[in-house]
Symmetry: C4
């Protein structure tokens, strides 16, 4: 049963280092270094002069990173039966897990041009390359805090979804109202309801770039009413997220893992759920 022993050795390496396995520690460090360098490389690539001069360096580094991450992905699938011992379909279970999906998406943009090299997808590929950002979630294996954040978001998912739907309706209604009253006067700023959504977003988040704003008296009246009502609604998902993250931060800095009570994002005090 040589394969079995090999698999166990590989599994010890790819699973999180528990302090005594040197090969595992080196593997973890390699992955983490590549994650950080990936993000740094994305930032550096964006500078035209750097991109022109060191194009091959970026290209070679990206190829190397993807090869390492692909090997890592395959090894993790191969050793999935050791991760979930005694379960049926351990590989399927692993492939559909959060971190494995992240792993796949983070390397997918590299292989996409090989699958569909059509020139029309060029712009799409540019967007797909954003999936490389997901690599930061690979840190989730090493940082407890990041796992906590995911848990917090997952635990408040249902109310987050309802509040986002509510936000979307408030935004859509604001956009329809503003389109109706402003379109006849400034048709190029409010050409249709979807374009008016941009105004609604800028206003209700109170960002207010100033590129689109009502100019008619009735438009300004509705904008005032929408602001007073809508800002309160848009604040809800923001508040839920702030509360979730604050909770994760406090838990992390307190080092108290058992305590699941949320903290107020504004005063940071532990909230009593009684």
């Amino acid at each position: 049963m040589k394969t079995r022993q090999w698999k166990e050795k590989v599994f010890d390496i790819v699973s999180k280092d528990d302090g005594d396995n040197k090969a595992s520690r080196i593997f973890d460090l390699l992955i983490m270094t590549l994650i950080v360098l990936s993000i740094v490389s994305i930032v550096l690539e964006s500078f035209d002069d750097l991109n022109t001069r060191y194009r091959t360096v970026f290209s070679v580094f990206e190829t190397f990173t993807v090869i390492v991450f692909t090997v890592e992905y395959i090894l993790r699938i191969w050793t999935a039966d050791l991760l979930y011992p005694g379960q049926r379909h351990p590989r399927l279970k692993y492939i559909t897990s959060f971190l494995a999906v992240i792993d796949l998406l983070a390397i997918l943009p590299f292989y996409l041009p090989f699958i569909a090299a059509d020139m029309r997808f060029l712009r799409m590929v540019r967007l797909f390359r954003l999936f490389r950002l997901l690599r930061v979630f690979k840190f989730g294996r090493y940082l407890e805090a990041l796992q906590t954040v995911v848990q917090v978001i997952r635990s408040s998912a249902s109310r987050l979804i309802i509040s986002v739907i509510l936000c979307f309706f408030v935004m859509l209604f604001s956009a329809i109202i503003m389109y109706t009253v402003e379109n006849p006067v400034q048709p190029e700023q409010f050409p249709n309801v979807i374009a008016s959504l941009w105004w609604a977003i800028c206003t209700l988040t109170t960002v207010g770039y100033g590129d689109v704003y009502p100019v008619t008296a009735i438009g300004r009246f509705f904008a005032a009413v929408i602001s007073l009502v809508g800002i309160g609604v848009i604040a809800i998902p923001t508040g839920i997220i702030a509360a979730g993250f604050t909770s994760a931060i406090n838990r992390d800095s307190d080092g108290d893992e058992n305590d699941s009570k949320p903290f107020c994002p504004y005063c940071g005090h532990r909230i009593r759920n009684d």
Copy 2:
């Protein structure tokens, strides 16, 4: 008593489906589909090219929707004595109920041109067509959450009204002060107090489009003082609304109907009303 039996059959259909009545379920689905399609149609109509090409489609769909909603409205009034059994004036009671008023307003814009076809009302009609948005509140019969939102707003109505009055005064005073100090320098931006209200709204909600702002030293000084004081005041109705909606969202996602304690939108903890 054939009419009575007919009426009972119709009432079973128009009232909320309780699981076993197939006709009622189909009727509910039809109404809900029409509500959603209404909103989608409003959004699509706003695109000039779609509106030009499919004008008749939109027109036929709108006519069909209004006919269905009108028939629904008449049937609900007709069967009102079965909804409120043993009460005097059941129809009057129904017509003045929140959802019936919504039902009427949502079909009214269609009939308005027949009543007053005067060309001067063209722009008004455009505004009245916004009443079609109220159709979404017809969902209130099917979604408990929407009814809860209405209840929450109604329950905090008194403090909402006081805070809105307070907001209005702070805005009016800010507008008067800014008109006084800025009008001599930039009369086209601050022509009168009502126009200055737009500045007050943009500033106190912290949206700050940047189309109107003080340029004199004294105007900027007052703007600073008004900001520091006023933003706190304007935050009150926003906060009340956020708290009300958050309460409704939490209740909905917990599925705990008996628990009427609101949650803080900022820290998400259950508030004790003691």
Copy 3:
């Protein structure tokens, strides 16, 4: 002692109506009507065409209002010894009371041109006329809510002052930093530290009109740091004011005068000071 009887009669009229004195009720109504009409008149005067056409109407109304308020002020001082029975210097005590100072300031702008008719003071007079806005505080005698607001502000005065001083220092420091880094590049936008304060105010309140903003890399870096730190500091007086007003609103709508516990402006729940 005829004067004494007269004085008592006058005192009964000018003091708050307790339900049975018809003259007092009429007097209160007159004062309140004049306060509201004063504010309406200030708004209407701001419209150029109305001001030109009805200049004499506004002038006569303002003269009439000031005469009534002056008579009211004199009568209140005259009857002050009945308001504070058994106290030494009751008139001095009354004149230095909050509402009496308001009463005086609200009529002062009218008499100012008679005292100093110098043309140089024309612009100043325009500003002094803003004191007319203080008339709304005369409502304080009739609305408990307004008195409560004053009390709330007074009770949190010490921490409000400290937080405003803190705000001022954060703003001043932000202005000095931004002046230092941005002045060499855009001297017309950041000519000196006092002018840079306008940038600091716009940014730290998150209004962000967009008339002044940093363009250098180092300026943007400092702007980012200042934003993250400063917005938290500027939120303090805003939060204190919001909490104070929310408390007053809740107390008013609950009709529970004895309860002095503050309410959270965001969730409106009664806060436990334990």
Copy 4:
């Protein structure tokens, strides 16, 4: 042992006045006056006309201030063994203390041109002169409140650092996403990821100057999503700082030194750390 007696006399003067030492009181007043005048001088210097006319006055005052502060710094180091009696290396301990580092940095900009008079450092010197602002922290010896603020920040340092790192990642990711989708359309506004960070900061703090904003449909979609998620995250350090400062303010205005419970900046209620 004459030196010893001299040292003790000097130590009595430079250490905080305890009410009976007249020389110490005069010394404290001199230092505080110089701190305030320093800040006033920085503000006044920024006015071109004042700077041109009174250049020598500012120069002489700055030289005088630095000499006094330098003498103060040297005397404090000299008497450090009396401040920390019985400790080894008392001078090293003092030099590395918070207030001593502030003292040094606050006088350093003056001596810098003597050390490196290279013309290339001119702009750098301008920036280093900002260290003069640190002089306000010298007040820390006299105002307990300022020391409390430092303590509060230090006590919430760990969670502040985590939240700032989280903020930085959210900003960086927002910048990368917006660079990817907007760079092809408006390359001068989003030339690279670092420049896109400016957009991210303006948007996530909801300042929204309006100098940089997405114009493509997909860019606006991502901006909407980033706003809804990101504003919640950016609010966290802001909230922590607000809570810390509010705590310090409340403690100061209550005059209750033993009570270390913080107050919520939004509801002002004493927070229970249980």
